[in-house]
Symmetry: C2
Amino acid sequence: MKQLEFSHYQSGEYAAQHIRITPTRLADGRDFFYLDDSPEYVSGAKTRELRDPRPLVDRFAPHRDADGNEVPYAEPIMRRDLLTGEWIPMAAARMNRPITAGPGATATGNPLAARRLGDPYQDGEVPDTDYDVVVFENRFPSMVQVPGVPNDITHVDGNGLWEQKPAAGRCEVICFDPNENGLPADLPVSRLRTVVEAWAFRTAEISHIDGIEQIFPFENHGAEIGVSLAHPHGQVYCYPFIPPKMKTELQHTQAYQERTGGNLLRDIMDAEIDAGTRVVMRNSSWVGYVPAAARWPLEVHVAPLRDVKTLDELNDQERWDLASMYSHLLRRGNAFFDTGDGKGMDLPYIAAWHQAPVRDSRRESYRLNLQFFSFRRAANKIKYLAGSESGMGAWVSDTTPERIAARFHELGPVDIG
Amino acid sequence: MKQLEFSHYQSGEYAAQHIRITPTRLADGRDFFYLDDSPEYVSGAKTRELRDPRPLVDRFAPHRDADGNEVPYAEPIMRRDLLTGEWIPMAAARMNRPITAGPGATATGNPLAARRLGDPYQDGEVPDTDYDVVVFENRFPSMVQVPGVPNDITHVDGNGLWEQKPAAGRCEVICFDPNENGLPADLPVSRLRTVVEAWAFRTAEISHIDGIEQIFPFENHGAEIGVSLAHPHGQVYCYPFIPPKMKTELQHTQAYQERTGGNLLRDIMDAEIDAGTRVVMRNSSWVGYVPAAARWPLEVHVAPLRDVKTLDELNDQERWDLASMYSHLLRRGNAFFDTGDGKGMDLPYIAAWHQAPVRDSRRESYRLNLQFFSFRRAANKIKYLAGSESGMGAWVSDTTPERIAARFHELGPVDIG
């Protein structure tokens, strides 16, 4: 596996000058990065202890089972579903991950908090007493590249029909802020700017890891959608395959390009701007609109005005403008549903970055876009993915894109400057 | 729209002799069918009142809004999502449907219960004081064929990119039993046999309605997945398009047939039988197995041993054997997760019938199968469809098919007779 030197990011035209990135490793060998956005550069200071004090063994080392026998590290595998062609990563070890939010909570500490000296909870992931934004490899990854494990296809039960191979991807966690009780919606734009930098940094670096096909930064927010840690954070899933939704989108963007010479995502954005009805936010670099065929009860797509394929291609102005729009989007999202008391709510949402795949030939037809949506369909109602959605992949909307946009228009001006 | 005479079902070779089907209509014009499975034929008896006593107007009639103005019936529409090619039905009127289970409950009566004489709740859907199994059109359909509404494509905002047309499908409800507190798992096999008959009957009849492309009988069970009515019931969604998951499956079954001459679903079933490891139930007509690339924490596929494309092709023995296997499947599903007290639980699940499409040319490559799965991943944990699944369509399993099968093997013999 290639060592990360973040040469790709550092040599990039747009790397932020005000953010200092400090690489380190956790005790079990996982990559860990501090992104400090303030002049004190708290976590990067030489006087701080950067070494993870936990007595963890190398994550890929064999371990001993209950009977004292040595058991080799079991790498996550993935199998191909013959009926759909989709790879299904199977990460049985994730069953034991800590859950600190919601009804199934199994842990009381917060592994994403900065280390508190003298705190009895010794399993924190951040080996420093303060930080701004940090990124590190997930301790319970559903996909990971294991050194020395060949990336070969084998067959389940020896039957040539059933292919399986290592789920040789990568899963990273991004902590947005040291304040464990803050909401991403309440973070200052300057901190969200650092989160954007983390997305760009990781996209630039991970694009150079062999075998990664799609880099997917996303945020799951809210216990209602199963978020197991309440600390404000996002994730980056790096798939060793093109995920099904991207595959479908690429088929459509490529076919459109071949048929018309145009870029489907650009033409959709332009059409939304022309129509105007569903545009909910706009600044000098970005536009946010409810797509004409929105499927979720709350859905906004955010697109850059300039043709950009991936997050690391964004320039400094675009990164600041994105941080600002993300902040507006989250705050308006929290105000979207009528809670009766006018106070708004902590909206559960998923923010999903769709960017051009790393090397798939159809990447030229693609264009960066954020798909932001919520399962919530009223202050006291959730949209569930039941038979039609989960069984047939057929989404049924209980509202219309125009209603969603009209509600956003009540919450603030389209022009956010 | 074609009137249903159920000639297609009645002329079928396999229509059950012991089940009497009585058609009627609800006060607002919706089709309603009694399926009586006992010699008393309670609901079909001439002495019973079959007419819906509610003062409902025709469901497609114009209504008056709050200002007293006449508003025409607004048919559900669907729009094509350009980025995926998928049709998204938009049923804004469904927002107001009654919810009698879970935290967002808005109604206290049970519209699926048999009518109780003197009961103040006058909005029941069943115009009789008893029944065995009933089927009727959904009062709040996400898809419906509206007489006189042309099925033409129009363009959103006049932009040729965005297509929309009426969501001219059909949504039906099947009540499995008059006992509103019973679970499907607790129903006698003879009653489930009538439910199977309802699936076959509706498949046979609806296949002859113009414009219906896919008939999808399914059961959503459990408030945890958003079931809004606790009464034991299922649904039939009839799509005027091939739903995305079926489209993907048909691409794979067709390609496999062209490449090998074989039927992919038959070959998968045979391979599972050969491997044996993941087979969890078998009788003289059906086999149930955890698929080699299962994506849910609990997943079983049920396939007929004989090559059958659709539910109405099943013969009488296969229908009885299916009722028996469905009963075993539900009961073992309830026992699957360790609740600590050995009592098992009321498992939330989705049972999704995948059958050959009505007229798509690839139907010859398909084969009937039931995909049964649960979101539950432990007695106190739910698998949520978060960023990877909802944003990228990429399922990540937290377990393995072999573990799921091993647990089923603890719950009862594979041979269920």
